[in-house]
């Protein structure tokens, strides 16, 4: 039923009303029991959004307890402040990922733009200045023949407009978009994934609270006026996409990055006055979520007069006002008598700041409109009593079939042909056409911009330290083996950050899955989260925040399980960061590695080589040795800090050959290696040597004078082999003893890597 139809039934709470809002019959009965009476329409709407999967984490909360920091926080002091990573010098980093998948499927520009806006608000609401944005995007195939031509065209439209939306918002709001990743798979057709990550920096003693306090303290509405957009957006996000997508267009919010820029500056300036007791952004579920959560966290209540809320249309009902997800709004509680200090700052920035109510001691959120109480609810019932569900997980048949996959029937593709297909596959091709549409340098703290290293590096003012940032995920690994795939996602993102010199210190995640009520999806979710949680403990990167997005499915099927991992690494000296290439001086190349269990499929299970060259998605990926991954990261960070490395790049999707090709391109010169004794010795297939995906392999470049000393710096468990060097020739040459495995010109490599995305997206 459409929202309008719901509103027509204002007088009667019939099952189709609450069912259409996403509540189940049993949830409605629980609400009746909690309230002891029949709720009003506004109240039932408030319960529906707060108890949606998006806000209530109904299906995920039990599993999220695998995350140690989350578990400790829930059992201890609560989640507040759990998300801050201290980096020394009195500074802390906050970071978070948020998905905006469903809005972006319907209205890609605004869906992506408001995703960026929402996650940035999550950062400065904590008192932190947003200093970087990252994103992770998934679309259906965009290359000709990747799907039916209509679907391909739609996917291109979605990709192009999502990118434009991220740029349009991020560029204007003045937060640099410093890193990201984009991949394509047929199963994202119809349900693209748009995950935005934001990072902020805060003086630890200036971190804000969201817990309201102080009877009689004024509740102040801040920012843009409330309109009728985005009503029930959180509920929309908690349902599957279907043919009626177009009807959901009114559920999509509209972004105004200019307003957000003002809101950032005004909020940070107002916080400095000390007149603000607590503050929270109005994101999902708008006024409902902010009033309820601030009351619940502070164990107080709020009495709010909606007549005072700035409105875009004067005829808005209590229901619409409480459920609107209009963007660029905040709610704060000021100390009584100091409200004018807050109001003055916001007015200076041309923004609205209006006292709409006050804090009460009774734990009730009371909402009035036209003199009538439209809702009176116990805040904690909405915030904390959302039911949780567990599903009996079921291992799908494909999992064991993948384990027993055999390479016997897979022919060895000639190396050059395989590398050409890998480098020009949209998922692996250069994303320069995309990231150059993002302002990656505003705020002048970006020391390693997109495309130059395995992670971005920021050099924030006020410290010598550097921040290495990365978001990463590989859904094929996770799909075929969710537990190992979850571990690999963490290991790889950590390794990427370490390759620039950052020691991994914290993680955030964006967990994108299908419908959790399906036993096999729940199994994917449970296994993947377990893998991530176990890996984060060993990698010493506690998960400080996260987001769960379920119901990512459409008429075209459910998406592959796609957990995305954001990692923060710290460099002692930002100025010592390295990239994946080196354009100057003589450089010897070495492979640093640890001994892998080479697995059932010689590194080709779940590989890009099988998928992009042979069209096969099967086999299990090689599992990482997590304790040695941590040792590897520590070694990389310390070597970079001692300025012993000139470049570093990990061997990942596409294997060693792909890694070397990227190093050659980033170095703008040739490269020659000879694969003598090394970890490839037990491999029986040349394609597995060149294209196998082995965790823990990193190619590093050093000055020839340092070559002899390199192996002596390695801690137990790590090994190294000299591979070769960067050359002044114009080709990439890979030999094994006397045999040439691959020889390709630099220009050819560049063409493979850089033409694919512009060719299909440029009109």
């Amino acid at each position: 039923m459409k929202p309008k139809a719901i509103l027509k039934r204002m007088d009667a709470i019939t099952p189709d009303v609450y069912l259409s809002m996403g509540l189940t019959e049993s949830e409605f009965q629980k609400i009746l029991t909690l309230m002891g009476r029949t709720p009003t329409l506004t109240e039932i709407g408030m319960f529906a959004v707060m108890w949606s999967e998006h806000c209530g984490y109904k299906y995920s909360r039990p599993i999220l307890r695998y995350f140690k920091k989350y578990r400790d926080a829930l059992d201890g002091e609560g989640l507040e402040n759990a998300g801050i990573i201290p980096i020394g010098d009195g500074l802390g980093i906050v970071m978070k990922v948020e998905s905006h998948n469903h809005p972006s499927a319907v209205e890609p520009y605004q869906g992506a733009a408001t995703g960026v806006g929402g996650i940035i608000r999550d950062i400065f609401t904590m008192g932190a200045r947003p200093i970087a944005g990252l994103n992770s995007l998934r679309f259906g195939p965009i290359h000709e023949g990747g799907a039916e031509s209509e679907v391909v065209l739609r996917n291109r439209y979605l990709c192009e407009h999502v990118v434009a939306g991220i740029g349009g918002y991020g560029n204007c709001v003045g937060v640099p978009t410093v890193a990201g990743e984009v991949a394509f798979h047929p199963r994202y057709s119809g349900n693209p994934l748009v995950n935005a990550m934001a990072v902020g920096i805060v003086k630890i003693d200036e971190v804000t609270t969201a817990g309201a306090a102080g009877e009689g303290n004024p509740v102040i509405y801040l920012g843009s006026a409330t309109g009728k957009d985005g009503i029930h957006g959180a509920t929309f996000a908690s349902d599957a996409l279907g043919a009626e997508n177009e009807d959901k267009r009114p559920n999509v919010q509209i972004g105004d990055p200019f307003a957000e820029k003002l809101l950032i500056e005004a909020t940070l300036e107002a916080l400095k006055t000390g007149a603000i007791q607590s503050i929270q952004d109005m994101g999902a579920a708008g006024l409902t979520c902010s009033t309820v959560e601030m009351s619940s966290k502070g164990e107080v209540g709020m009495d709010v007069n909606l007549d005072l809320v700035p409105m875009r249309e004067s005829d808005m009902s209590a229901y619409e006002l409480m459920l609107s997800e209009s963007q660029e709004r905040m709610l704060c509680v000021a100390f009584k008598g100091r409200e004018q200090e807050v109001i003055s700052v916001f007015e200076k920035w041309g923004l609205k700041a209006v006292v709409i109510g006050h804090v009460t001691p009774n734990g009730l959120v009371t909402v009035r409109r036209h003199g009538k109480i439209e809702a009176q609810v116990v805040a904690s019932q909405l915030a904390d009593e959302c039911p949780t569900y567990t599903v009996i997980p079921e291992e799908p048949g494909y999992y064991r079939a993948a384990e027993s996959f055999s390479l016997d029937d897979v022919p060895v593709t000639p190396a050059e042909e395989a590398l050409s297909k890998l480098m020009s596959a949209p998922s692996l091709a250069s994303k320069e056409w995309i990231f150059r549409q993002y302002d990656s340098q505003v705020q002048t703290q970006t020391s390693l911009p997109p495309g130059q290293g395995d992670a971005a590096v920021l050099a924030p003012r006020g410290t010598d330290k550097g921040l290495a940032l990365k978001i990463d995920g590989n859904s094929r690994w996770v799909y075929l083996n969710p537990y190992v795939g979850g571990q690999l996602a963490v290991a790889e993102a950590c390794r990427n950050v370490a390759c620039t010199g950052g020691l991994p210190v914290g993680a955030t995640d964006g967990l994108n899955f299908g419908n959790p009520t399906y036993p096999h999806v729940y199994w994917q979710f449970e296994r993947a989260v377990k893998g991530i949680a176990d890996a984060c403990e060993i990698m010493q990167t506690p998960v400080v925040s996260g987001n769960v997005s379920f119901y990512n499915e459409s008429d075209l099927g459910e998406v592959p399980p796609t957990p995305l991992i954001g990692i923060l690494g710290i460099l002692n000296h930002a100025s010592r960061r390295i990239g994946m290439g080196s354009t100057l001086g003589q450089v010897d190349l070495h492979l640093v590695w640890y001994e892998n269990d080479l697995g059932l499929h010689q590194g080709l299970g779940a590989s890009s080589y099988l998928a992009e060259v042979h069209g096969i998605e099967s086999g299990w990926p090689v599992a990482p040795n997590l304790p040695l991954e941590r040792v590897l990261c520590e070694w990389l960070a310390s070597q970079v800090d001692q300025q012993r490395l000139k470049l570093a790049h990990d061997v990942s999707e596409g294997g060693l050959a792909f890694c070397l090709a990227e190093i050659a391109l980033a170095s703008e010169r040739g490269l020659e290696v000879n694969l003598q004794n090394g970890p490839w010795d037990p491999l029986t297939r040349p394609d597995s040597v060149l294209f196998g995906e082995f965790p823990g392999w990193v190619v590093v470049g050093v000055d020839p004078d340092d070559t002899a000393a390199l192996s002596g710096t390695l801690p137990p468990g790590l090994r190294s082999n000299q591979l070769g060097r960067l050359t002044s020739q114009e080709w990439l040459l890979i030999r094994q003893n006397d045999q040439i495995l691959l020889q390709t010109g630099q220009e050819t490599l560049y063409h493979w890597h850089n033409s694919c995305i512009p060719q299909v997206l440029w009109h």
Binding site: C172, F258, L262, R436, Q443, T444, S447, A459
Partner: protein, 229 residues
């Protein structure tokens, strides 16, 4: 004596300009709010990049009507130094302190990357110490410079074209003309040479940690001007 960094609502390179001048060039800079009406005590003005007033009308059009721009006009007429980078250049054109206009990039997309610039003139203090070819970052969606033939003739004739987009060797090619500007123009000067508008960001290239220092050769003009006061 100080440089005023003008802050419009929606400016987002104001803090970058502030820190570049203060921290990297040792030039004392302060923020001046768009509603202020005086530049007394200042010897230079920096109009920063960003999206002033959201740029929801034409870029820079609203800012041109602000209180402070009246004062910037007067300030410029006294021969004092005014630089506008990116949105600041757009504001200068909308204020008619510089001729011409800036349109959507030829390829209709925002572009963020480093570009090479060829210095085209040695007129005025801003270009006095700039080498023949420099590299600066750009980050804009609407940077395609356009002017009528008469204006172009005058700009060329009087040495008022400050920079053109070029390749690393200083050649003007169609590829190097990154946004499709007329005659590859990246920046222009006022008649007296005391007002410079350019799309690239000199304030983003004043320390090696960020990958380049060529912006110092332009902004160094403030050091000289201030040392004379």
């Amino acid at each position: 004596m100080k440089v005023a960094v003008i802050r419009f609502p929606g400016s987002n390179c104001d803090q970058d300009a502030f820190h570049s001048l203060n921290d990297d060039l040792g030039v004392s800079a302060e923020y001046v709010w768009h509603q202020d009406n005086s530049l007394s005590g200042y010897e230079g003005v920096f109009l920063p990049g960003g999206f002033s007033y959201g740029d929801y009308l034409r870029c820079g059009a609203m800012a041109a009507q602000s209180t402070i721009m009246q004062e910037v006009r007067r300030f410029a007429s006294e021969g004092k130094l005014v630089i506008g980078a990116c949105n600041g250049f757009q504001v200068l054109c909308e204020t008619h302190l510089l001729p011409g206009a800036l349109l959507l990039n030829e390829q209709q997309k925002f572009i963020c990357q480093d570009v090479y610039l060829r210095r085209e003139s040695s007129h005025g203090p801003f270009l006095a110490n700039v080498p023949d070819v420099i590299s600066l970052p750009i980050a804009h969606g609407e940077g395609r410079y356009i002017a009528d033939d008469e204006t172009l003739k005058r700009l060329n004739g009087e040495g008022l074209v400050a920079f053109r987009y070029c390749d690393g060797a200083g050649n003007l090619t169609s590829d190097s003309n990154i946004n499709g500007s007329v005659e590859s123009i990246a920046g222009i000067l006022s008649q007296n040479g005391n007002v410079l508008g350019l799309m690239p960001h000199p304030e983003r290239a004043t320390k090696a940690l960020l990958g380049g220092v060529d912006g110092r050769t332009i902004l160094g003009a403030f050091q000289l001007a201030l040392s004379k006061v």
